[in-house]
């Protein structure tokens, strides 16, 4: 029981980290980034590659990978996303566009690294310590720690800095921002970069825990979506709470159902949340 409790909490950290990139892009640009899963995968492979090539520890690789992905995201925004209408009208178009980006990313990873499953092994991958009767993995704890640091950092960024205030203002009302002289386009591109960088960073963390292949990221994308819809857009505490809920439901469902079906729990939850609480637990509208 206490084992399950630890697993759930630690898993929630990763989920929150994965979801945040998706949430911030949606919250500000009103775009569902289907390329999110692809960027998680890119992060995982980047960490893998740097570890194989230079022996760089994945935790040290997080920062350079996140920065590089930030610029990749900005580029993607300026080159592709910017050309499409936003909001309800452009919703499906941007969805498909970013889906195309995902397909291309997957194929690129395939050509570079083959379709085989890869694992990133460090000297501490399998180390763990006791708490009461439970074993806690150092690695999982570290992932959790990084997730907390990033989320708190983000919260501060959004509430305490000029950039953060601009992002929040644009999210609420882009047209009046133009009036008061906030460079809306730049805020959009920075936000898209931020979301992309966060996705890649989450991918690095995921790579330290699980094996991955070019298809990695698809179930992560869906889980992120559950968290975003459940937790509200751009709200850091909401994201954290929603991630906890998802992780607990997933981990504890094995008590009442066959293990095989636990994989379906997240998907069912996604559909139920969309249908029953389309406003999310914190009340934003997703109806068109």
């Amino acid at each position: 029981m206490i084992d399950l409790l630890f697993s759930a909490v630690l898993l929630a950290g990763l989920y929150a980290m994965m979801a945040y990139g998706l949430g911030i892009i949606y919250g500000v640009l009103r775009i569902v980034n289907l390329g999110h899963g692809g960027m998680i995968m890119v992060g995982a492979y980047a960490a893998f590659w740097m570890h194989e090539q230079f022996g760089l520890d994945p935790y040290l690789a997080i920062v350079p990978i996140a920065i590089a992905s930030f610029f990749l995201g900005v580029g993607m925004y300026k080159l592709l996303v910017k050309r499409l209408p936003r909001g309800a009208a452009g919703g499906v178009q941007s969805l498909l566009l970013l889906f195309a980006v995902w397909l291309i990313l997957r194929n690129t990873a395939y050509l570079l690294f083959t379709g085989n499953d890869q694992t990133l092994r460090t000297s501490y991958s399998t180390n763990s310590f006791h708490v009461a009767t439970a074993y806690v993995s150092w690695n999982r704890l570290a992932v959790f720690g990084v997730a907390i640091v990033v989320l708190v950092g983000l919260h501060l960024l959004l509430t305490r800095t000029y950039l953060g205030k601009a992002i929040r203002a644009v999210a609420q009302n882009p047209s009046s921002c133009t009036l008061v002289g906030i460079p809306v386009e730049r805020v959009y591109s920075v936000t898209f970069g931020l979301g992309t960088g966060l996705a890649a960073a989450a991918g690095v963390l995921g790579a330290t825990l699980f094996s991955f292949n070019p298809g990695y990221g698809s179930s992560e994308l869906l889980k992120s979506f559950v968290v975003v819809v459940l937790g509200g857009l751009g709200s850091v505490p909401g994201t954290a709470l929603a991630a906890l809920i998802l992780a607990f439901v997933e981990v504890f469902s094995i008590k009442i159902m066959p293990s095989y079906l636990t994989a379906a729990v997240g998907f069912v939850l996604l559909v139920l949340v969309l249908v029953l609480r389309p406003g999310g637990l914190f009340g934003q509208r997703v109806l068109g």
């Binding site: 499906v92 889906f99 195309a100 980006v101 995902w102 194929n107 050509l111 998907f267 069912v268 559909v271």
Partner: protein, 317 residues
Amino acid sequence: MSMPSWAPKPWVLFAFAGALVLLALVPLVNSDAYWHNLFTLTFLSITAALAWNWLGGLLGQVSFGHAAMVGVGGFVAARLQVSSHVPMLVAWGVGGVIAGLYALVWGHPTLRLRGPYFSIATIGVGEATRLICTYWSWLTGGSSGMSIPVHPALKFQLYWYGLGLAALALIASFALRRSPLGLSLLAIKSDVDAAGDVGVSSTRLQDLVLFLSGMTMGICGGFYGSFFSFIEPGDLFGFERSISYVLMGVIGGIGTIAGPALGAIVFIVLQQSLIAHYSQLYLGLYGLFLLLVILFEPLGLVGLALRVMKKPIEEQP
């Protein structure tokens, strides 16, 4: 009695019938089983892509989970044939109806969601259906799948069944688009609330289209089972299959009448020509196509063709 005013021009009808007759006669001159079977599979893809488009194009609701109905229809039909010896066509029909009903079960509530939310929900539906049906071995035989007894001549004959299905789907696409019903659908697509205000009952119409789309997918599933004599949930319910319908529909021309059929043909041709030696390229290439279509030619190949012929795009609002 006369044809309704929205019926196609006579030459279109002639061309359509002529193409049907020609295609029906192809096997007389072609004895290569590979090409024969490839044609059959293409007809099947055309049918499925058109049915996907009823939802994706006519209602503007892009589904990433249509494989769920293919799977449900396919396994119901297979189970009926194997366990109860129901005749093939009846089994397809029942499978289709159940798949259509299944589409209503999840689709009726989710169709209220617009745009991306609906799409995301369908991914969840597709994956959940795959996992649950794989576990539910009573229906699907579980992960090891199901075999339908092999009838040596049947696979050959399915060519004409497939041709018939594709023709029906094309006629249905035309009717759904051009009939008064189609106009109401267009109204819903542009603005649900406004359509409701002017007296278009959006829920019932959307449910009807959803049912038709799901049913056709289910029939395709039944067909697929009879064609391969062996079906397996991981393949029939797979996300890749759902993706392929999106790609066929969007690249061919989302919302156009025959675009998805064109998309299906191009998809199969490209897949077959790449697969033997460059199989790892084709998904990425499709991604690239999709990207170009979205950015430059939202009506896909059909839009491109119209532009080349310098024709106005009449159907578009």
